[in-house]
């Protein structure tokens, strides 16, 4: 064989090897989506892989919306979502023939925070928060005593979630009644750690961010009890979030499962593992698990292959988990 020929043969073999290896990744569960849900899914994936050698799980972070884009293209088996699926996404799924099962898997509670040196704020109502955060407050509500006259004549320093985050969407919806409707003159960051730093160093600060960041930094921050629908001020805690009294600033977060993917044993096994081990792992990564009954109901949804969403394509705030689970599911957007 001439040298040239040998070289050609080697090249062919390498290419053949490539295609032979293309079968790789058969027992692979592909997940993408929200960064809020990510820590829980990561924990479940880690445990799942050590319990089921040979099955592989990969998780990406491209935000709830970005995750759904991959989901309706059929590129992922599961989508992490910090809000329910929206009308446009439902329509895309329908167009692509993707059927999804909506599974609430934990609670995320937004926590309103002040500096520990702040002694005058004992609780806040949603109206107080609206006075502070509504778009009309921009450049006008600049002092604490403009919110409530009994509060001191001190500047008000605001810290909030970055405008691309699900946290921002949820907070603005719960407080002003319209997602993304907020004043713009505040320190915004996608990274909640920046907000923790800000509030912990500024005695006039008021900020909001995810519950987990508060739990990890309790010594540097003071959580504000929020007056709920029963007119009772409630501090965010595992108990108050779980029993639904910390409202409206707590919300369920979801995974969406492609129904067709459930035919693959690794995906079905992973989803069942998620619902079974989820509560303990959720607690471990500092989120609040759903009440036990909710996981059971979700398991039933998987077993029966019930597709659709309980939200009809619109986000809602202050919805109790029991109420959510009782609602009929539909793939048709609600008007």
């Amino acid at each position: 064989m001439t040298r040239k020929k040998m070289r050609q043969n080697a090249a062919t073999l390498i290419f053949l090897g490539w295609f032979a290896g293309a079968a790789f990744g058969q027992a692979l569960v592909r997940i993408d989506g929200s960064s809020t849900v990510y820590p829980i899914t990561e924990a479940v994936a880690e445990e799942f892989m050590s319990a089921n050698p040979g099955m592989q799980v990969v998780v990406g972070i491209s935000g709830t919306g970005g995750g759904f884009k991959k989901f309706y293209r059929g590129e992922t088996d599961l989508s992490n979502a910090s809000r329910p699926i929206q009308v446009a996404e439902m329509e895309e799924c329908k167009k692509a023939g993707i059927e999804y099962i909506e599974l609430p898997i934990a609670f995320d509670a937004l926590t309103v925070m002040v500096n520990p040196a702040n002694t005058f704020v004992e609780s806040m109502t949603i109206e107080d928060l609206r006075t502070i955060w509504s778009p009309e407050a921009q450049g006008k509500i600049l002092k604490w005593n403009q919110v409530r006259s009994e509060w001191p004549d001190q500047p008000l320093a605001l810290y909030g979630a970055g405008t691309d985050s699900g946290t921002f969407d949820y907070f603005t919806e719960a407080v002003t009644g319209k997602a993304k409707s907020s004043r713009g003159d505040f320190t915004a960051s996608e990274d909640d750690n920046v907000l923790v730093q800000g509030v912990s160093k500024d005695k006039n600060a008021l900020g909001y961010f995810g519950f987990a960041y508060y739990i990890e930094n309790q010594d540097k921050l003071k959580a504000v009890p929020i007056v709920n629908h029963e007119n009772k001020p409630v501090l965010p805690s595992e108990a108050s979030v779980m029993d639904g009294s910390y409202t409206p600033l707590s919300r369920p977060i979801f995974i969406y499962v492609n129904r067709k993917s459930l035919d693959r044993p690794e995906v079905r096994k992973f989803v069942e593992f998620y619902l079974k081990e989820g509560p303990a792992l959720t607690r471990e990564v500092r989120y609040v698990p759903l009440p036990a009954g909710a996981y059971k109901a979700a398991m039933e949804r998987v077993a029966k292959g019930q597709i659709g969403t309980a939200y009809g394509g619109h986000s809602e705030t202050g919805l109790h988990i029991d109420e959510l689970l009782k609602r009929p599911l539909s793939t048709e957007p609600r008007k």
């Binding site: 090897g17 290896g21 998780v59 990406g60 750690n193």
Partner: protein, 301 residues
């Protein structure tokens, strides 16, 4: 001539400029050193063999950067084998072969402009072209090609600059001895410009290794706890390219994820991953500097 009339003033200006230059160098190196020290201080406690050989985990003290290191190295490999030969060849063509006319002028302007295109745009282009149109999936191959395209203009520009620095006499000497154009390039132009080309390669690869935005766009993962299949197989043909198809993550993405976690112990992990990334970059540069040194040694004009 004002300057010539005041020799003392001229000397004073000279000294002032020297001082300014030295101060600026100290300032920029000092900033780099401070950043590195800060990273080391935060991350040193986490740096260990275990950190390098563990997969990511929800438990900060068990988490490691194994998949991210392998991902970064694999992607950099693809970037290097695509961007460097292509870039150097384009540079040589434009300098040595192409006629100087309006067509090359347009190409030149375009290359200069491409070097300034924000990396996220490259990511979007790669998503549309490589992932969707060419069906390369969200793989190491896609990532390597994306970064390869991103740094290609840098390599081309550096190559051209290096080639331009070679005295015309060298080429004329080669032609006078009867060398063809290719022989001139192969035996004279390329070896003599090698040190400049390698400098360009260092800059290009250092830029690529820190890129996050385009890789997130094309779908780099955050959690991946297995390695791509090995490029060497026990059975014939002994070489496999299936690793190119594998999903992946890279160090900057792993760092970014850790920085934004609530548990402060993850922040130490992020700093440690930063140290690892810096070490990979520095050792890559060291290799290029070594090659440059050796290529300079053989030049005898």
């Amino acid at each position: 001539m004002l300057a010539a009339a005041h020799p003392r003033r001229r000397r004073w200006l000279d000294a002032a400029f020297l001082l300014l230059g030295a101060a600026l160098i100290v300032l920029s190196l000092g900033t780099l050193a401070a950043l590195l020290l800060d990273l080391l201080r935060d991350g040193l406690s986490r740096l260990s063999l275990e950190f390098l050989t563990s997969f990511p985990s929800r438990k900060p003290d068990q988490a490691g950067v194994k998949s991210a290191i392998v991902g970064t190295c694999a992607v950099m490999f693809v970037t290097a084998v695509t961007a460097l030969p292509l870039g150097v060849a384009s540079g040589i063509y434009l300098e040595e072969y192409a006629r100087k006319n309006w067509r090359t002028a347009i190409i030149e302007i375009n290359i200069a402009n491409l070097a300034g295109v924000p990396s996220i745009i490259w990511g979007l282009m790669a998503l549309g072209l490589l992932v969707y149109a060419l069906g390369l999936k969200r793989s190491i191959l896609t990532a390597g090609l994306t970064l390869g395209l991103l740094v290609l203009p840098i390599v081309i520009v550096a190559t051209r600059e290096a080639i331009r620095a070679i005295p015309q006499g060298i080429r004329e000497g080669a032609y006078a001895l009867g060398a063809s154009r290719w022989q001139t390039v192969r035996h004279h132009v390329l070896p003599y410009s090698m040190s400049g080309i390698l400098t360009g390669a260092i800059i290009a690869m250092s830029r690529a290794i820190g890129e996050t935005a385009p890789l997130i766009t094309i779908g780099a993962l955050t959690y991946i706890a297995f390695l791509p299949p090995s490029p060497v197989t026990p059975s014939p043909p002994f070489v496999s390219l299936s690793w190119l198809d594998s999903p992946f993550t890279v160090l900057p993405i792993q760092m970014f994820n850790w920085v934004s976690r609530p548990d402060p112990r993850f922040h130490a992990n992020a700093a440690a991953a930063g140290v690892v990334l810096m070490s990979i970059t520095l050792s890559m540069n060291a290799l290029a500097i070594l090659l440059r040194y050796r290529s300079r040694r053989v030049i005898r004009w």
